[in-house]
Amino acid sequence: MIRCILLFEILIFSTNTINGQVISISDCKKQSPFLSVNNLDVSKGAFSTSERRLLGLVYLQYDEKQTAIVGYIQHPTWKMAGSLGPIVVDDKGAVWVAPIPTINVLHNNPQKQNRIYVVDEITGVMSLAAELPGSALPNENNPFGVMGLSYDCENRVLFASSIRGSSRSEVRGRIFSLELKDSSLTILDTLSGIDAMGLGVVKMDGIKRLFYGDARSGNIYSVQVDVQSKFILPARLECSLQNLGLRGDDIPRKIRFQGPDKMIVHGVEFYFNLIGPQEKQESLYTFKLKENKWVFDNVN
């Protein structure tokens, strides 16, 4: 709690103030129509990209108590991009995913990591939706590309973060604002020189902001987004995961908003390598908006 406030006070990134309520605008997902065709109980199902023995995207079926996996479906095309990371389901039921190598790059060619794939909501077939431009080519020390996705339900815009081409000494990542049209994506705007991982889009006092987690420091920043879904600089520091939780060096993998004043950040270890711990080291950090500042509340 102290840390978050302290950073806010010490580092002057912006004079914007935060008042009033926070409204999540990224949770409008619709059940994918192709799931109904397959007679699946969608009340006990979920998409996953993190099953240890299953490559790519799967749709898991859980038992009555929703604690044990009893089965799964996987369209043959869902393995085409290798190991995957972020998942976003849009308001029509299309599923947007991006590749992230896990443990090795056998199924994830580093040249093909700056991509976004979409699963068609009707057919369930996965296809390439976009190859994002990087400011640098992948290098032998950084096999990653797209790391985070977040969906703006109001404008049907997908935000994507990428760290492609970054090195220890050079930050070459980008954040993209992408317009959804059918199953393709068009770049509306780009922020360069940012290595971001988790993203979360929200409205605060009627102003849209994209929150992003810095993949190097654990800090969480936000940048204003205008009505055309273009970014308005400067970014401002909101709070940080530094020294919080069990590990103290977590990086924000995913950012979501809940209720009028709550931000939940999924924090993981990330040192731009391919370690794959058996037990996922992830903590959920809750921040609450108090007196215009995001104050650390708890960690689970």
């Binding site: 443990i103 020390n141 950084n142 020294n243 390598n273 391919l274 711990p277």
Partner: protein, 569 residues
């Protein structure tokens, strides 16, 4: 074998300016504990061997002393003192306080009706757990006990003093500051009452951060009180230091290894050997420009992949690369620096070893890995390129296959295999398996390689003869042409093979296409195979934890493989 070797200190990246990292002697001196640490360890051992193994704080107030006695002897605490095997864990009382109204929840308020309740805070070093108890000294009852894993209470003064002593006696800190500090200088003004806690998220040990202010800079150190050693240091500006430090054990270790061994090449010159070494993104510890006397021996050698298979049927396993911990494609990373060690046969020093370990955090718990790379250089010109798995992996049915890449120097090389009819020269790229039918020369060579008319090496694969616990290599040898115009592994190779192929398809076969060798420059690829074993007394590629002095240590059973190269007359 390691016990027969003594350490050569490696100095690297001694800190001289802000935000730099410094390590050096302390890392290598941790196994040679100073006297005050040995004294502290003796106190701990005495306590663990006593009938009441919890170390008490012994406060002067009789009621507080009674409170900690009640807790230490209570049945509720018993599960935190002995593990499931009955081994004693290190538990110490960190604080005894008069219970405040806020300590008494509604359900226990009736059990603490007057001022006779005390809060006793304990810490279990073995499982990194804080235990908070509420004790009624009138009824002599523990009315509440809560344990929180991976949490530490505020440390007592004797541990604060110990942490400061470890810091002020450190040569690394003395070198960084330019003088030997005294204990009163080990705290910042704002933190006099307690040391700032610092994260040891990798080891999950109890760590604190003594800090030394020098002008407008502050030198932060991380001291591990579980192992009683300095973890690392970092300079910051004083303004930054007033908050909690923005670094942790893992950050310090990763940045140190990256700065000193991933982004820099190091050199060893010892006896007649001269070579460079460097940690790679995914090919382990690479040696290069290896010379013996006036002879150029190797262009480079490295460990490209580890393939780990857990089933002969469903293809489950991992393909791991080993390498640098920060900005790399390694799945198992270097945490400690490379070591240069003396190599002994009996009491005789016969050469030296260059060795590097790679760890998964959590090792030796299941599904975590530890690999060792080991280069041996003998005074008589022999050398061995080897590696071991030190377990533990995801099961007792694991098969490990490391893949080495060895590029000899010289432009005119020939490769021979020993057969029933004698030495048979290989004329084109191919592979061969070492198995039960393999025929060895009288000197135990399976192959020999000629670098020119005067320099030749016999290649002796492991058959369990190297006195390192190895039980044989069962290796595929691949020989390919080294191309100047095509990079077939000179630079860092990302994962080249899948986890679970059980035949020659371990990755190097991609470069084998029957191309004529033409007495040119060659590359040897060597992929050994080891099966792990967890049966008591027969452990191999295995590791298990055990309690020693109240904290968990690891008993390891490495399975070394790799060929010896012997110069031929």
């Amino acid at each position: 074998m390691k016990d027969n070797l003594f350490r050569t200190l490696i100095f690297c990246c001694i800190s001289v300016f802000s935000m730099q990292l410094a390590f050096g002697q302390d890392i290598l001196m941790t196994k040679e504990q100073p006297g005050f640490v040995q004294s502290e360890l003796a106190i701990i051992k005495d306590r663990l061997n006593s009938s009441q193994p919890v170390r008490l704080l012994k406060p002067t107030a009789p009621s507080m002393a009674l409170a900690e006695q009640i807790v230490a002897n209570s049945n509720q605490l018993a599960p935190f003192i002995k593990d499931l095997n009955g081994s004693i864990m290190r538990v110490e009382v960190f604080g005894v306080f008069k219970a405040l109204p806020s300590d008494k929840s509604a359900d226990i308020a009736s059990k603490c009706p007057d001022g006779s309740c005390y809060k006793v805070e304990l810490y279990n070093f073995s499982i990194n757990t804080a235990i908070t108890t509420l004790v009624n000294t009138q009824t002599k009852e523990v009315v509440k006990m809560i344990s929180i894993k991976n949490t530490q209470p505020d440390i007592p003064s004797y541990l604060k003093d110990l942490a400061i002593k470890i810091a002020v006696e450190s040569k690394t800190i003395e070198k960084a500051l330019g003088y030997k500090p005294n204990s009163t200088q080990a705290q910042m003004a704002g933190t006099k009452t307690s040391l700032n806690k610092s994260r040891c998220e990798r080891s999950l040990h109890l760590c604190v951060a003594p800090t030394f202010v020098q002008g407008d800079k502050a030198l932060w150190s991380i001291v591990d009180l579980t192992e009683m050693k300095l973890v690392g240091i970092r300079w910051t500006k004083v303004g930054e230091s007033e908050a909690r430090p923005g670094f942790t054990e893992r950050k310090l270790q990763n940045e140190y290894i990256t700065n000193c061994f991933c982004e820099k090449e190091s050199k060893v010159e010892k006896n007649q050997w001269k070579l460079n070494y460097q940690l790679t993104s995914s090919d382990g510890l690479k040696i290069s420009k290896v010379e013996f006397g006036d002879k150029k021996i190797l262009d480079q050698a490295k460990l490209v992949d580890w393939h780990v298979s857990y089933s002969n049927t469903d293809g489950f396993g991992y393909s791991d690369a080993v390498g640098c911990p920060f900005f790399s494609t390694a799945a198992v990373v270097a945490i400690d620096p490379p070591e240069v060690l003396e190599l002994k046969e009996g009491n005789e020093i016969v050469g030296f070893v260059l060795q590097q370990s790679f760890f998964s955090e959590g090792w030796p718990a299941a599904c975590n890995y530890n690999y060792v790379q080991r280069y041996e250089f003998y005074n008589d010109g022999r050398f061995r390129i080897s590696a071991a798995s030190v377990g533990r992996g995801c099961g007792n049915n694991g098969t490990y296959r490391p893949v080495f890449r060895i590029a000899f120097a010289s432009e005119m090389q020939q490769f021979h295999e020993y057969t029933q009819s004698g030495w048979n020269k290989w004329d084109s790229e191919k592979w061969q398996l070492q198995n039960e039918a393999t025929i060895y020369s009288p000197e135990k060579f399976q192959y020999k390689i000629s670098l020119n008319t005067k320099l030749r090496f016999g290649v002796e694969p492991g058959q369990g003869q190297f006195n390192d616990g190895g039980r044989g290599d069962n290796a595929y040898m691949y020989v390919t042409v080294a191309h100047r115009e095509i990079d077939e592994g000179d630079t860092d190779l990302m994962t080249i093979g899948p986890c679970c192929n059980q035949d020659y398809q371990q990755g190097p076969e991609k470069f084998v296409n029957s191309e004529p060798l033409r007495d040119g420059k060659l590359v040897l690829w060597y992929s050994a195979m080891m099966k792990n074993d967890d049966r008591p007394g027969k452990e191999y590629c295995w590791a298990k934890g055990f309690l020693e002095d109240g904290v968990f240590k690891t008993l390891s059973f490495p399975c070394f493989v790799g060929p010896m190269f012997i110069p031929l007359p």
